[in-house]
Symmetry: C2
Amino acid sequence: MTRGASIDHTAPQNLSAGIYATLRHRLILGELRPGASLSIRTLAEEFEVSAMPVREALRQLASEEALIGAAKKAYRVPDLSPDEAANLFFVRSILEGAAAELAVENMTARNLRNLARLATETDAAWATGQPDRYIAANYKFHRCINDRAGNTSLEKMIAGLYARTGPWLAHGVADLISADTAQDGHRKIVDAFASKDAALARRLVEDDAQWAITLYRRLR
Amino acid sequence: MTRGASIDHTAPQNLSAGIYATLRHRLILGELRPGASLSIRTLAEEFEVSAMPVREALRQLASEEALIGAAKKAYRVPDLSPDEAANLFFVRSILEGAAAELAVENMTARNLRNLARLATETDAAWATGQPDRYIAANYKFHRCINDRAGNTSLEKMIAGLYARTGPWLAHGVADLISADTAQDGHRKIVDAFASKDAALARRLVEDDAQWAITLYRRLR
DNA sequence: ATAGCATAACTGTGATCACAGATAAACACA
DNA sequence: TGTGTTTATCTGTGATCACAGTTATGCTAT
């Protein structure tokens, strides 16, 4: 490549923060595959900075278990076992379910239209067999809900889970998207928000988070 | 002081990890007060290491919002507003409630005896007006439950919340413990586990996590 | 051709230094 | 005695180096 990797859009106060955000984004979108190794010096060269900010970004990702960092060994993208993935998606279902319940009363008509648009986007991506597009749209769809919960701590904890499950999910979706599996969960969620049914929204979002893991298990 | 601060019991692979664990423990136990400032160089001298491991530990704590780290300003212990604290305790109630529900079937008779002992410990500490003792026993009580959930991710996320709410809780408990407020929640939780009532255990644990915030608000 | 070993390259980790911004202290002036 | 300004100290941040494990490579001997 001719230039250094692009840092986060909003100029961060730290170099570390920008590199962290960039790498986490790559994890969420599945651009970093499970088992891939990340080297401090290599990334430092790529980002055109010294090793210092990179090592702090990697350490931070490792601390939230978005990366694996053994002593004197290269950082690696975790290769989740089905059980580990199930644990993570369980936590995600709980947190996102609660967020959805909170978000119902904060959801404006504009939010709802945006949400509906993203639901059709995910469906289209799935129907046409575009895993990358589906992953990106799915993340935006759920962020649109979680951001309306009005609980910053909750939102950030959920975002951390997406970084941890991202590589695994991208791998799974790539396998599943070719199979003839139904995928109408998002549409129902939009309807629940439209009718302001908090309990239903919670249950559907919980089911949606569990959907990937059950589907993945059935395929094996 | 005549010697360096003691590092974590189990020898960690990193100096950073040990310092991180020590500082987090201090936060959980309320030994670090809200607003207190932590300096990299000062702590490095205290721990008898260079600035390098300390800055990584502080950065990590700041990344999980257990500390506040502004640019070129000293790290500080967050001074939570009642709303922020309520948000955190809400998340804690959700996660610990789910953990309790999972823990019911994993709870052995030995665990149950230990849990009952810790419940009487918290009650005794409260009745005799010993905030530090209450905080420590309360943390152990809830860890005893959360560790039996069998979901490592869930446990660690909850532990992170204790680090964030610790200083605030210690401050609040010190104020509340003198007032003649009842405190029999833990006893009921033990009974729910004894009768293996998962739904009840979940509800009671959820209520217990909300208890501090409601009590704190009532006092104001 | 293959197994075993020595060597080279690569890894994170810790320490040290230079720098710029923020805070506190001290000093001069009214 | 108060107030504004200057100075000094303290702050995190980034870069660079030395070091010790780890991994990969290539060579030698069989």
